[in-house]
C-alpha cells in the first residue's frame, strides 16, 4: 500500500510511459486495496436487496391478519432509522445487518451516496457483481487490464458509472415501489379496521334465548362494489344456530355503505371486493 502511494506521487513527475506502467500498478494496487472497499460497499449494496426482501415479505405476510400488527411495524422502518445509522453500519456488521429486520432503510442511503465514492474511479467498475467472492473474481478484472490503455480504462470507467447509475435507479425504483406497497398496506389496514368497527356497531346478537351464543362462530363472504355498497353477503360457515347466523348477515346488511378506500389501487390490492368476515363474540365470553 505504501508502495502504491509512493508510485502515485512519483508518477506525477515522470514521463507518459511511466504513467501507463504506474497506472497498471495503481489499478492492481487499488484493486487489491479497493477490493476491501468494494466488498464493503457491495455488502452494503448487497444488503439493499436483502432488506427489501425482508421488508417485502413482512409486507406480504401481514395480509392474512391485516388489522394491527403491520401498522405497528411500518412506522419504524420509514422514519427513524435512516438518519442515525447510515455511517456506522456499512463496515462493522454486515452479517448482523442482514438479520436485523427493521434496518431496511440503511442500505438505500449508502446506495445514494455512492456517487461520492466514484471519485475513486476504479472501484465501481465491473466488480460490483463479482466481489461477493472477491478472491475468485480478481482474475477477471485483470484481463481487461492487460490490453489496458487510457481509453480502455475510461470506457470501463464510463460503463461502471453508467451501471452504477442504473443500479441506483433501480434501487430507487424498487424502493419507491416498496414504499408504495407499505403505503397501500397501511391504508388497507386502516380501512379494514374501520370496516370491522362498522360491522361491530351493527351486530346485535340474539341474546334473548336459552342457548349461549358466546361460543358460536360464523363466517360471511362479503362482496362489495368499489362504491362500498354491498353486492352480496353469503354465509360461508354456519354457527349451527339459525338466529345467530341471521344476526351476522343482518349486521353486514345494516352497514348499508362500507367505508372503503377511494384509491382504486388500494381497493383492489386490499381485496375489498371480497371480504371474509368472521364473527366471534369474544366480548360475551365468560359472561
Amino acid at each position: 500500500m505504501s508502495k502504491a502511494a509512493a508510485a502515485v506521487q512519483g508518477g506525477k513527475d515522470f514521463t507518459l510511459p511511466m504513467i501507463g506502467a504506474v497506472f497498471v500498478h495503481v489499478i492492481v494496487a487499488v484493486l487489491l486495496f479497493g477490493s476491501w472497499h468494494f466488498s464493503l460497499q457491495k455488502t452494503v449494496e448487497f444488503h439493499v436487496p436483502q432488506h427489501i426482501q425482508a421488508e417485502l415479505v413482512t409486507v406480504a405476510r401481514p395480509k392474512p391478519e391485516p388489522v394491527k400488527q403491520p401498522v405497528v411495524k411500518k412506522p419504524k422502518p420509514v422514519e427513524p432509522k435512516p438518519k442515525p445509522k447510515p455511517t456506522p453500519k456499512p463496515e462493522p456488521k454486515p452479517v448482523v445487518q442482514d438479520k436485523v429486520a427493521p434496518k431496511p432503510e440503511v442500505p438505500p442511503v449508502p446506495a445514494v451516496k455512492q456517487p461520492e465514492p466514484t471519485v475513486k474511479e476504479p472501484e465501481p467498475a465491473a466488480k460490483p457483481e463479482k466481489t461477493p467472492q472477491p478472491v475468485a473474481e480478481l482474475p477477471a478484472p485483470v484481463e481487461p487490464d492487460l490490453p489496458s490503455e487510457e481509453s480502455l480504462f475510461e470506457n470501463l470507467l464510463a460503463g461502471a458509472v453508467a451501471e452504477d447509475v442504473k443500479i441506483n435507479e433501480q434501487v430507487a425504483a424498487l424502493e419507491q415501489r416498496r414504499k408504495r406497497e407499505v403505503e397501500i398496506q397501511s391504508e388497507v389496514d386502516k380501512y379494514s379496521a374501520g370496516i370491522t368497527a362498522q360491522i361491530s356497531q351493527k351486530w346485535s346478537r340474539p341474546r334473548d334465548q336459552l342457548i349461549d351464543v358466546a361460543n358460536l362462530q360464523a363466517e360471511v363472504l362479503v362482496e362489495l362494489l368499489p362504491t362500498g355498497e354491498l353486492k352480496k353477503a353469503t354465509l360461508t360457515k354456519s354457527s349451527g344456530n339459525a338466529r345467530y347466523d341471521q344476526s351476522v348477515i343482518r349486521a353486514i346488511e345494516k352497514v348499508l355503505r362500507f367505508n372503503v378506500p377511494d384509491d382504486p389501487e388500494v381497493f383492489e390490492k386490499g381485496e375489498f371486493r371480497n371480504m371474509r368476515v368472521t364473527f366471534t363474540p369474544e366480548d360475551l365470553m365468560g359472561l
Binding site: 433501480q170 349461549d212 351476522v248 371480497n274 368476515v277
Partner: protein, 434 residues
C-alpha cells in the same frame, strides 16, 4: 450485470408473491357486537271511519314490541312522513332516520260495522316488503288482531315465535279486614291488560297452572279445613276437584300430553309429589322421604318430571322418570336451585339459582349439564317463563303492593303492572294459544 438480474429476479418474485397474497380475500374479524335494539318505525295508521275506535292497533303493536326489550320504536313526531300505503314509503328517508323496519296501516269501514285492516311491514335495510296483511274484523277484535300482528312481525324479524297472543293467569288478593281477604283468579293478555276474573274465593287460591292446550287451569284452593286441587275449564267454567287431602296441597302441573296432573301434598307430614292420572282418576305418590319435595314440572314429552327436593340438605333440582320411577339429582352448583321448568324444546331447564346470596335465573343445558346464568333479579316470587323462552314474568313488591314484572332474558325489566284490586301474586304464563 448478473447482480442486477439477480435483483430483478428477486423483485419479480416478490411482486408475484405479493400478487398471490393479494388474491386472497381480505380478512375481517369481528369480535364484539353492540347488541343495539332493533329500530322500528310504526307509522300511525290511517282510519277512514267517522267514529273513534276503541283500540289503536299501532299503539298495541308498539307496546308489544317494546316490552320485549329488543325494539326501539321511533316516535311519530320524528317521522319525515307518515305514509299509509306503499307508494308513500321512501326507504331512503327511513334509512336517514336510522330505521331498520317500517310498519304502515290503513283501516277502512266495512259492511256490518266491521273494519278492513291493511297492514304491511317493510325491511328498510333491504328495501323490500316483508309482510302484507288484509283482514276484516269486528270492532272488538281489534286488540286481538293487534297482538297477532305483533306476533307475526316479531317472528318475521327475529325468527322466534311471538308471545303477544298468549295470556297470563295470576291471583290478586285484597285485604278486607284484619284477617279477612278476598282472592280472585284472573286471566289477562300477555301485556297484563284486558284482565278478567274467572274465580273468586274468600280463602287462598295459590299456584295456578295452565294445561298444555290453554283451555284449563289448575290451582290449589282452601275449602273449609281442606286443601283441594281445582281443575277449572275456562270456557265452560266446569270445576273438578281431584284431591281432598288433609294438609297443604299446592303446585299442580299438567303433563303436556294431558294425561297427568302432578301436585304436592303434605298430608303425610312432609310435602311429597303425587301424580294424578286423568284416565284412572287415581293419585299415586312418587316421592318417598322425610324431606320437602315440591315444584314439579313435566318435560315436553311428558316422560320426566323435574322437581325441587331438600333431601340433599338444601333445595336442589331432581328429575324423575315416569317409566323407571327413578329420580336423579341434576343441580350441584350454587347453594340452592329451585322452580325448574323445561324450555319448550326440552333441551334446557330454566330455574332459580341462588349463589352468594343472590337469586338468578339460570339455564341448564340438559345435554352437557352446563349452567348459565341469565338474569340477576331480586326475585321474591316464582318466575314464569314465556313459551318462547325469551321473557319471564314474576310477582314482586313495589312499595306495599304486589305487582307483576316482566323481564327479558338479558335482564332488563321491561314492564310492570299493578292491579287496581290488590296485590298480584303467582303469575303463570300460558302456552301458545293459537
Amino acid at each position: 450485470m448478473s447482480l442486477i438480474k439477480y435483483w430483478q429476479t428477486i423483485g419479480l418474485v416478490l411482486l408475484l408473491a405479493m400478487q398471490n397474497f393479494a388474491y386472497a380475500d381480505l380478512e375481517i374479524q369481528v369480535t364484539r357486537g353492540y347488541d343495539a335494539q332493533t329500530r322500528i318505525a310504526i307509522v300511525p295508521f290511517l282510519w277512514e271511519g267517522k267514529v273513534a275506535l276503541p283500540e289503536r292497533i299501532e299503539n298495541t303493536i308498539t307496546n308489544d314490541l317494546s316490552r320485549t326489550g329488543r325494539f326501539d320504536s321511533l316516535a311519530p313526531a320524528k317521522m319525515l312522513s307518515q305514509p299509509y300505503d306503499e307508494d308513500g314509503v321512501f326507504f331512503r328517508d327511513w334509512r336517514l332516520l336510522g330505521q331498520e323496519y317500517v310498519v304502515i296501516g290503513h283501516l277502512t269501514p266495512f259492511s256490518d260495522g266491521k273494519i278492513q285492516v291493511q297492514v304491511a311491514l317493510y325491511d328498510v335495510v333491504k328495501g323490500q316488503r316483508m309482510v302484507r296483511v288484509t283482514q276484516v274484523v269486528g270492532i272488538h277484535q281489534l286488540r286481538k288482531l293487534a297482538h297477532s300482528l305483533s306476533d307475526l312481525f316479531y317472528e318475521r324479524i327475529t325468527g322466534v315465535k311471538g308471545i303477544f297472543s298468549t295470556q297470563l293467569a295470576f291471583v290478586v288478593r285484597k285485604q278486607l279486614a284484619n284477617d279477612r281477604y278476598q282472592y280472585r283468579l284472573q286471566i289477562a293478555d300477555a301485556d297484563g291488560l284486558n284482565e278478567r276474573t274467572i274465580y273468586r274465593s274468600p280463602e287462598p287460591i295459590i299456584s295456578p297452572a295452565w294445561s298444555h292446550d290453554g283451555t284449563t287451569l289448575a290451582f290449589a284452593i282452601k275449602v273449609g279445613d281442606r286443601w283441594k286441587i281445582c281443575v277449572f275449564d275456562i270456557r265452560t267454567q266446569k270445576q273438578n276437584f281431584i284431591s281432598n287431602d288433609r294438609g297443604f296441597t299446592s303446585s299442580p302441573t299438567f303433563s303436556p300430553d294431558g294425561r297427568y296432573l302432578a301436585y304436592v301434598s303434605s298430608n303425610k307430614n312432609s310435602p311429597e309429589i303425587y301424580l294424578y292420572d286423568f284416565q284412572t282418576g287415581r293419585s299415586e305418590r312418587i316421592t318417598r322421604n322425610s324431606y320437602i319435595d315440591t315444584e314439579p314440572s313435566f318435560s315436553p314429552d311428558s316422560k320426566y318430571i323435574v322437581f325441587t327436593s331438600e333431601k340433599g340438605g338444601r333445595p336442589q333440582i331432581y328429575r324423575y322418570e315416569l317409566a323407571s320411577k327413578r329420580s336423579e339429582r341434576l343441580t350441584f352448583e350454587g347453594s340452592q336451585n329451585q322452580r325448574a321448568r323445561y324450555s319448550s324444546d326440552g333441551k334446557y331447564l330454566v330455574f332459580v339459582h341462588q349463589a352468594n346470596g343472590r337469586f338468578n335465573i339460570a339455564t341448564m343445558d340438559l345435554a352437557s349439564r352446563d349452567i348459565r346464568i341469565l338474569t340477576e333479579t331480586n326475585l321474591d316470587e316464582s318466575p314464569s317463563v314465556a313459551p318462547n323462552g325469551t321473557m319471564l314474568v314474576y310477582a314482586t313488591q313495589r312499595g306495599n303492593r304486589g305487582v307483576l314484572a316482566w323481564v327479558s332474558l338479558d335482564g332488563q325489566v321491561t314492564n310492570e303492572m299493578k292491579s287496581d284490586f290488590g296485590d298480584v301474586l303467582e303469575p303463570a304464563w300460558s302456552p301458545y294459544l293459537n
